[in-house]
């Protein structure tokens, strides 16, 4: 899947869970930069991404998701 397709889908997921789109998707983006992206919503975001891309993350992989770039790369490798 192409990177920009992945990014757009991730953006849709974030918008639907967080109920706002006050963020720009870029590689250095982290949860801290986005309103409402806390440990509670993180779980829901991860689950929704798994559904949307029909993939399943390993528990260990979740710790490596330090920023948007890492997330998008991981999705690309799995999808």
């Amino acid at each position: 899947m192409e990177l920009h397709t992945i990014k757009n889908k991730v953006k849709d997921v974030l918008t639907s869970i967080l109920e706002h789109n006050n963020f720009e998707i870029h590689d250095e983006l982290t949860a801290k930069d986005v309103d409402g992206w806390n440990s509670l919503s993180h779980m829901m975001i991860i689950t929704k991404i798994e559904e949307e891309f029909n993939i399943k993350f390993k528990l260990r992989e979740l710790n490596k998701l330090k920023n948007m770039g890492a997330l998008v790369t991981l999705i690309q490798n799995k999808a």
Partner: protein, 493 residues
């Protein structure tokens, strides 16, 4: 038992063992003893003798843990202050507890206006772990929990309470020793943290903490796997997060897995037991008012377990606690009947900090086995079976548990109404799609943009109390008693 002497002896005896693993770095008990001694020195030099409690900024570092022990060794208690909580709330706590000095290990001081004592860079002094003499009624800490009128309630816990707890805990026969590797997953503003550092320190075991920016549940898993954790107390929400990944978890090193702070469902516990095949799983229960926890139930593997609505029993009272289930007139109910769970014994707080009104409401005296005994009403609806095991049925009042934190729904409503003025609002705790409790807010009004409201709430309330969903209702439905029908409103979420 003298708790402080026990701490001293254990630290001295285990000087070469690891005490902490924090952000990838080990600290031995000798390192710990040095930092404690250096902080004691600065406390002696800068804090007045008659200051019974000192504020503590809760960072995740050796200095913060050493500050607790240093204060105790000086016969003083601590009041944890979370640097990420709203300043206005922290200021209320500082004022209510009459805190003057604040220990802070941050590079940038959190409070510039108070007598802040930096614990980050200190003179190195001779190691000195000999505690001053303390009385059972001297304060070990005051923790503040959510209160109804916008002012958090202070729960003072004494060294006598802590000794009562530790003695009762060891009587449960946990064989913790200096080879154990123990999880400390709690914010230091949550009293389950006290257990998570104190029990390991008393046995010379190593404490593994969680860096603030990490996602807790996946970091816990890495600690379990990479560091072979043996002993862990967690809130059940962690299991809900980990559940989709249970098939990846096989940690044979775990010997004890304890749960506290929320209802523990049997089905998740059963699945979890396969992830930690060698562990004893315990469900413990207790409010902050009765020092950390005071009842215990050991889950039976491959056997039947007592439950109510799929929730495990909280078991029997520990050695130093008396449990009593009463009706509305404070009469003990028969086994099998439901009533409010009341607690008494060595672990029970002397009462809320400077809050006579609340004390009259929740503490009462009653003759128990021929003696006048002071009891605390937990607000928990329970029943006891013929074997003395207590079943948790739910809350009596409007408190909710969010991520293990006790939340007075009315405090959220109070702050919301204060911001909106003349607009009615009802906060509702509801279960979301992944069975987590979230806070919903129903507002009796036409639709408006709530961004400003939520931003204002964030300056008044800690993050776990901020509503995650808002709904607008033209007119709130009423129940047959003419009260706002909260059940109907709950259906909106």
């Amino acid at each position: 038992m003298n708790l402080l002497v026990e701490i001293q002896k254990s630290i001295e005896e285990h000087r070469d063992m690891n005490a902490f693993y924090i952000e990838g770095t080990y600290h031995t008990y000798k390192d710990f003893a040095q930092v404690i001694s250096d902080i004691r020195n600065v406390i002696r030099n800068t804090v007045a003798n008659d200051e019974a409690v000192v504020g503590l900024i809760t960072n995740n570092d050796i200095h913060t843990y050493a500050s607790i022990i240093a204060l105790w060794m000086e016969g003083k208690g601590y009041v944890p202050i979370h640097p990420d909580f709203p300043v206005s709330r922290n200021e209320v706590i500082i004022r209510e507890a009459e805190v003057n000095a604040i220990l802070d290990s941050s590079t940038d001081q959190v409070f510039k206006t108070h007598n802040t004592i930096s614990t980050r860079i200190l003179d190195t002094v001779q190691i000195d772990l000999i505690p001053v003499s303390v009385k059972a009624e001297d304060l070990g800490y005051i923790f503040f929990t959510s209160g109804t009128t916008g002012t958090p309630k202070g729960v003072p816990i004494t060294f006598g309470n802590l000794e009562g707890f530790i003695e009762a805990f060891w009587a449960l026969d946990y064989t913790l020793d200096s080879t154990d590797r123990c999880l400390q997953m709690f914010e230091l503003t949550f009293d389950l943290s006290v257990f998570s550092y104190l029990a390991p320190i008393l046995k010379g075991a190593c404490i593994y903490t969680i860096p603030k920016e990490e996602i807790k549940y996946s970091y816990i898993f890495e600690l379990m796997e990479d560091h072979k954790l043996t002993f862990m107390l967690m809130v059940p929400s962690i299991l809900h997060y980990l559940r989709p990944y249970f098939d990846e978890i096989d940690c044979t090193s775990v010997r004890y897995s304890l749960f506290c702070g929320e209802a523990l469902p049997l089905d998740v516990t059963e699945e979890w037991s396969s992830c930690i095949p060698n562990a004893t799983i315990d469900n413990v229960y207790g409010p902050t008012e009765c020092t950390i926890f005071c009842t215990d139930y050991t889950y039976r593997r491959n056997d039947s377990n007592k439950t109510h609505n799929g929730v495990l029993t909280i078991g029997k009272s520990m050695k130093n606690t008396i449990t009593l289930i009463v009706d509305e007139d404070e009469n003990e109910v028969a086994n099998g009947e439901s009533g409010e769970l009341c607690l008494s014994g060595a672990q029970l707080t002397q009462g809320y900090w400077k809050n006579e009104e609340k004390n009259k409401e929740v503490f009462f005296n009653k003759e128990y086995k021929g003696k006048q005994t002071r009891f605390y009403r937990t607000g928990d609806l329970c029943s006891m079976d013929d074997e003395g095991d207590i079943l948790y049925l739910g809350r009596i009042d409007f408190q909710a548990k969010i991520q293990g934190f006790r939340v007075e729904i009315s405090e959220i409503e109070f702050e919301t109404k204060a911001i909106l003025s003349k607009t009615n609002a009802v906060a509702i705790a509801f279960k979301n799609a992944i069975h987590h409790t979230e806070i919903g807010l129903a507002i009796e009004s036409l639709v408006f943009d709530t961004k400003e409201l939520i931003e204002s709430l964030k300056t008044k309330l800690p993050p776990y109390m901020i509503p995650t969903q808002v709904k607008f209702v033209d007119k709130f439905p009423l129940n047959t008693n003419g009260k706002t029908d909260r059940k109907k409103l709950k259906e909106l979420f």
